[in-house]
């Protein structure tokens, strides 16, 4: 470990551990590893089903590429803002950290709003989870991902709330790093879902 990140980790004042990694951080990475396998199972099932259908998804399987592209840009932007929030926190600039974290929550919320519009458009055309295999995969993959985005926004909100009290924040500031790791994971999942569902 080197550089600012290492310095920041040591200045958070966490108790020393056998691994040299704060338990919370190691726990978050193990949790993310299990989440990777969760989404891999779902995406793997989607790929297997798709390989079995040469004409997939068919004319009824059209998704809006501009909306998907906009959502991807929003999530990429939110990854930038949360890493800037962590950097601001590490140099003690709490107002900036709060601002970047709020921006992350806003971008995540916009992602969900656009996803809601996409769902509403499909529902208005009577396209539901049970319509066919493609839409079952689409709603399952994007719905579970959207739940993860919602969870990430809630996590970020809790971290933001704990910044109100400076004394409380001093002992809880590492949670921003955990929230950031989770948020980046959600971004990575969408980085694969977007081309698989919208482009290929």
């Amino acid at each position: 470990m080197n550089g600012a990140h290492a310095a920041a980790t040591t200045t958070f004042g966490t108790a020393p551990t056998a691994t040299g990694i704060p338990n919370g951080k190691l726990g978050m990475w193990v949790f993310l590893a299990s989440e990777v396998m969760f989404f891999t199972g779902l995406i793997g099932a989607y790929i297997v089903l798709r390989m079995g259908h040469p004409a997939w998804p068919g004319p009824e399987g059209h998704l809006s590429v501009p909306l998907g592209t906009t959502n991807t840009l929003l999530l990429i932007g939110s990854s930038v803002t949360i890493v800037l929030s962590l950097a601001a926190s590490q140099r003690g600039a709490l107002p900036a950290a709060r601002g970047w974290l709020s921006a992350t929550m806003l971008l995540g919320s916009l992602f969900l709003v656009i996803k809601g519009f996409e769902y509403a458009a499909k529902f208005s055309h009577r396209i539901f989870l049970s319509t066919n295999v493609f839409w079952s995969c689409y709603y399952t993959l994007t719905g579970l991902h959207a739940l993860h985005v919602l969870g990430g926004i809630a996590f970020n909100g809790m971290v933001l709330a704990s910044t109100r009290n400076a004394a409380r924040w001093a002992s809880r500031r590492q949670r921003l790093e955990f929230a950031g790791l989770y948020w980046h994971f959600v971004d990575i999942v969408w980085i694969f879902l977007f081309p698989l569902l919208y482009l290929i």
């Binding site: 592209t69 990429i76 932007g77 990854s79 930038v80 590490q90 977007f194 081309p195 482009l199």
Partner: protein
């Protein structure tokens, strides 16, 4: 490197991520006759771009590049299982053919 000095790098990586994503969209949209690649070539190209983007996020935003090796191993464990799963999926496909 201080956290303030890292800010331009974070922004630059964000621009790369957006650029690679848009490149994938362009490849997908022009692949219908304009791009001299078979369908599987376009799919491989787009998924390769996604893998590059995910690697950039993991290395620089999740700090795996500068973090302890144990975390890198934890992060790589599911990737190895994914490779194994892909091997099973594609070998099964070949057997059926």
């Amino acid at each position: 490197m201080t956290t303030r000095a890292l800010q331009p790098r974070y922004l630059l990586i964000g621009i790369w991520l957006a650029g690679l994503m848009l490149l994938g969209v362009v490849f997908s949209e022009v692949s219908g006759g304009f791009l001299p690649l078979p369908r599987w070539g376009v799919v491989t190209l787009i998924l390769a771009l996604s893998t590059i983007k995910a690697t950039l996020v993991a290395l620089y935003y999740m700090h795996l590049q500068s973090d302890r090796k144990l975390l890198v191993l934890v992060a790589l464990a599911p990737v190895l299982l994914i490779v194994l799963a892909c091997g099973v999926i594609f070998s099964s496909r070949l057997v059926r053919l």
